[in-house]
C-alpha cells in the first residue's frame, strides 16, 4: 500500500538522521577518549607543564579554569538574580520595559564570544590598564553566561505558584520581605541549574579569555589583579593544536581535551535531570 510505504520510508529517513546525530556524539567522545586516555595519570593532574606541553601535567591549567569559573559565578549569580527580580517582581506590571529586558538578554546570548574578548581587550586590558588578568576573564565569562543564568531563574520565578505569594501578602509582608523570604529561597533551583549550564559553557570558551586573561605557560596562582593571567584548559589546547607535529605533545593535548570534556559534561549532567524533566512536563501533549 503506497501510503504505508511512504510512511515507512519517511520514518527510516528521519531515523537515519537521528542515528547520525547520536552517532556523531559517540564518535566524538570515542575519538577524544581513545586518544586522550593514555595521557591521564596522577602526574598529569598534579604537575605543571614542562617542555612546552611535551611533559608534565595540567595542574595549573585546571586551577586557572577553576578560578575563572568561580569568578564568573560570583559575577553572574547576583546580576542574574537582580535581572530576574526586575523582570518577575519590580517590573511585573510594566510590559514594555520587561520586553526590552528580555530582548537585551536575547541579543546578549547571541553575541559571538570573540567579541567579548575584544571588548575585554579594549576596556580592561587597555583602558583600565590591567594587562592580562584572571579577573577580566572571570568578568567577561560571567557577562557571557548572564543570559543563560538569568533565563533559568526567570522561568523558575514565573513558575512559582501564585498561592505562595498571595499567602505572604495576606500575612502583611512587604514586597521586599516577600522577595527575600519566599521568592528567592523558592527559586534557588533555577539559579543552580542556570549557573551549572552557564559554567559548562564558560569552561570551554577560549575566545573571551585569549586576549584578556590567559597565557600558555608561566602562570601559577594569581597574587593581585593587574598583570595576573592564569593558565586555562581551553587555551592550552588551542595553542598546542596549532603546533601539532610533536607526537609527545599530541597525546597530552588529547588528554587535556578529555579532561575539559569531562569538566563540561559533569557540569551539564548535574543540571540536566532537572531541566529535562521540567521541559517534558511543560510540553506534554
Amino acid at each position: 500500500m503506497r501510503r504505508k510505504a511512504v510512511h515507512h520510508l519517511f520514518r527510516l529517513a528521519t531515523g537515519v538522521c537521528a542515528a547520525a546525530a547520536c552517532g556523531v556524539f559517540f564518535l566524538i567522545v570515542w575519538a577524544i577518549a581513545s586518544r586522550g586516555w593514555a595521557a591521564l595519570s596522577w602526574r598529569f593532574f598534579t604537575e605543571q607543564i614542562r617542555l612546552v606541553g611535551a611533559d608534565g601535567g595540567i595542574f595549573y591549567n585546571l586551577l586557572g579554569t577553576l578560578i575563572l569559573l568561580a569568578t564568573a559565578l560570583a559575577a553572574s549569580a547576583p546580576t542574574a538574580t537582580a535581572l530576574a527580580l526586575l523582570h518577575g517582581v519590580y517590573l511585573r506590571h510594566h510590559p514594555r520595559p520587561r520586553r526590552l529586558l528580555t530582548l537585551a538578554l536575547t541579543v546578549l546570548n547571541g553575541v559571538p564570544s570573540i567579541l567579548f574578548g575584544i571588548f575585554g581587550l579594549i576596556v580592561f586590558v587597555q583602558w583600565l590598564g590591567w594587562g592580562k588578568s584572571w579577573l577580566t576573564g572571570g568578568l567577561l565569562l560571567g557577562f557571557m553566561i548572564l543570559p543563560t543564568v538569568t533565563v533559568s531563574l526567570m522561568e523558575r520565578i514565573a513558575g512559582l505558584p501564585a498561592r505562595y505569594l498571595e499567602a505572604a501578602a495576606g500575612l502583611g509582608l512587604t514586597q521586599s520581605q516577600i522577595v527575600r523570604s519566599v521568592i528567592l529561597p523558592q527559586s534557588v533551583g533555577g539559579l543552580v541549574t542556570g549557573s551549572l549550564l552557564g559554567l559548562a559553557r564558560a569552561a570551554g570558551e577560549t575566545a573571551p579569555i585569549m586576549f584578556t586573561a590567559t597565557i600558555f605557560a608561566g602562570a601559577t596562582v594569581p597574587n593581585g589583579i593587574k598583570e595576573n593571567p592564569v593558565l586555562s584548559l581551553p587555551y592550552h589546547i588551542f595553542v598546542l593544536a596549532q603546533d601539532s607535529f610533536d607526537p609527545a605533545v599530541g597525546a597530552k593535548v588529547w588528554g587535556t581535551a578529555l579532561v575539559l570534556l569531562g569538566v563540561v559534561f559533569a557540569l551539564s549532567l548535574l543540571a540536566l535531570p532537572v531541566r529535562l524533566k521540567a521541559h517534558e512536563e511543560a510540553r506534554e501533549g
Partner: protein, 298 residues
C-alpha cells in the same frame, strides 16, 4: 497587594546590578561602533565592498571575509539543517518517550562540546580527510572553507535539532490525534499537520543556528586556512570552497588584533569587522526570537 515601601535594599541592589548589566550590553555595541568610526570615514562603503585587505598600505576591504563567513555558514547549514530537522522529527514524532529523553541527553551533551575540542578534531582528523577527498582537485592543504563548513555543520547539528524539536513538541497533541482519528498515517500527520504548524519555530531554529555559525571563531580559525583576499572569480565559482579562506571571526581571532593596536586606522578597521559581525548576528538573533514568539503564541 503587599505593602510597598518606596525603596528597599533588595530593590536598590536589583536595580543597580541590572543597570550595570544593561549598560554593559549597550556599551558593547556602542564600543565597536565608536571605535570603528575612522575606517568608515576613510573608506565609506568601500570597507564592505572592497576586495583587498593589505593593512600595511591602509587598504581595508572586508568583502572577502564577508564572503568567507557566508560561504562557511551556508555549507554548514546546508548539511546541518536537513539532518537536524530530520532527526528532530524522528525524535519528536516517532520515538517513544524514554528513547526521546535519552536522545535529548546525548544531543544536549553534544551541544556542550567546546569549540576548541571541535577545532582539535578538525585539525587532527577532518583536515586530513578533506585533503584526501579533494585529491583530484590538487588542494594545497586540508585547510579550506569547505573544511570549516563541514566542521561547523557538526557543531550546529545539536542546536538545530534541539530548537526544531522544541518547535515540534509545541504543536498540541490534539491536532495530531484529530488527524490520526481521520485515518491519516503518522507520516501524513507529521507532513500535513505538525510540520506546518511548527514551521515558524523551525525557521527560527535555522536562523538562530545561522547566527551561531557566523560568530563561531575558534574551530573555524583552526581549519579555514586564514588566507586573505580570496575572492571567487567568477562570483558563483565553487573553487574557493576548496581553497583556504578567511572569515570575519577568524580574522578577529588572529594575530592582527595585536598588530593593529598601534595604528588607529588599522584598529578602527578591526573594530569595523567586529561591528559588521555583531550587526549580522544580532539581526538573525532578533528575527529568530520573533519567530519563536509567534510559534509559542499559536
Amino acid at each position: 497587594m503587599a505593602r510597598r515601601r518606596r525603596w528597599s535594599l533588595t530593590k536598590a541592589a536589583s536595580w543597580t546590578f541590572s543597570v550595570v548589566a544593561l549598560a554593559g550590553i549597550a556599551g558593547l555595541a556602542a564600543l565597536f561602533a565608536v571605535q570603528s568610526l575612522p575606517v568608515w570615514k576613510h573608506a565609506g562603503w568601500g570597507f564592505l565592498t572592497g576586495r583587498e585587505w593589505f593593512f600595511r598600505e591602509s587598504l581595508f576591504g572586508a568583502a572577502p571575509m564577508i564572503y568567507g563567513t557566508l560561504v562557511v555558514a551556508a555549507v554548514a547549514l546546508a548539511l546541518a539543517a536537513p539532518v537536524g530537522i530530520g532527526a528532530a522529527v524522528f525524535t519528536s514524532e516517532f520515538l517513544p518517550r524514554r528513547w526521546r529523553l535519552a536522545v535529548k541527553l546525548a544531543i544536549e551533551l553534544l551541544a556542550g562540546v567546546p569549540s576548541v575540542v571541535y577545532g582539535l578534531l578538525g585539525i587532527l582528523l577532518l583536515r586530513n580527510w578533506v585533503y584526501d577527498a579533494l585529491e583530484p582537485f590538487e588542494p594545497l592543504s586540508g585547510d579550506t572553507l569547505l573544511t570549516a563548513g563541514v566542521l561547523l555543520a557538526v557543531m550546529l547539528l545539536p542546536t538545530v535539532m534541539t530548537l526544531a524539536e522544541d518547535a515540534l513538541r509545541g504543536v498540541p497533541g490534539a491536532q495530531r490525534a484529530a488527524a490520526r482519528g481521520l485515518g491519516l498515517t503518522a507520516t501524513e500527520t507529521v507532513l500535513h499537520v505538525t510540520l506546518p504548524q511548527a514551521a515558524p519555530g523551525i525557521l527560527a531554529a535555522v536562523l538562530l543556528s545561522l547566527g551561531r555559525a557566523l560568530g563561531e571563531m575558534i574551530a573555524v580559525f583552526l581549519v579555514v586556512g586564514r588566507q586573505d583576499n580570496q575572492w571567487p572569480a567568477p562570483v558563483h565559482s565553487v573553487r574557493p570552497l576548496l581553497e583556504a579562506g578567511q572569515t570575519l571571526s577568524s580574522k578577529l581571532g588572529g594575530a592582527e588584533i595585536n598588530i593593529a593596536y598601534g595604528d588607529p586606522l588599522h584598529w578602527a578597521a578591526m573594530a569595523g569587522l567586529a561591528l559588521v559581525l555583531l550587526l549580522l548576528v544580532t539581526t538573525l538573533t532578533l528575527l529568530g526570537a520573533r519567530l519563536r514568539r509567534t510559534d509559542h503564541a499559536t
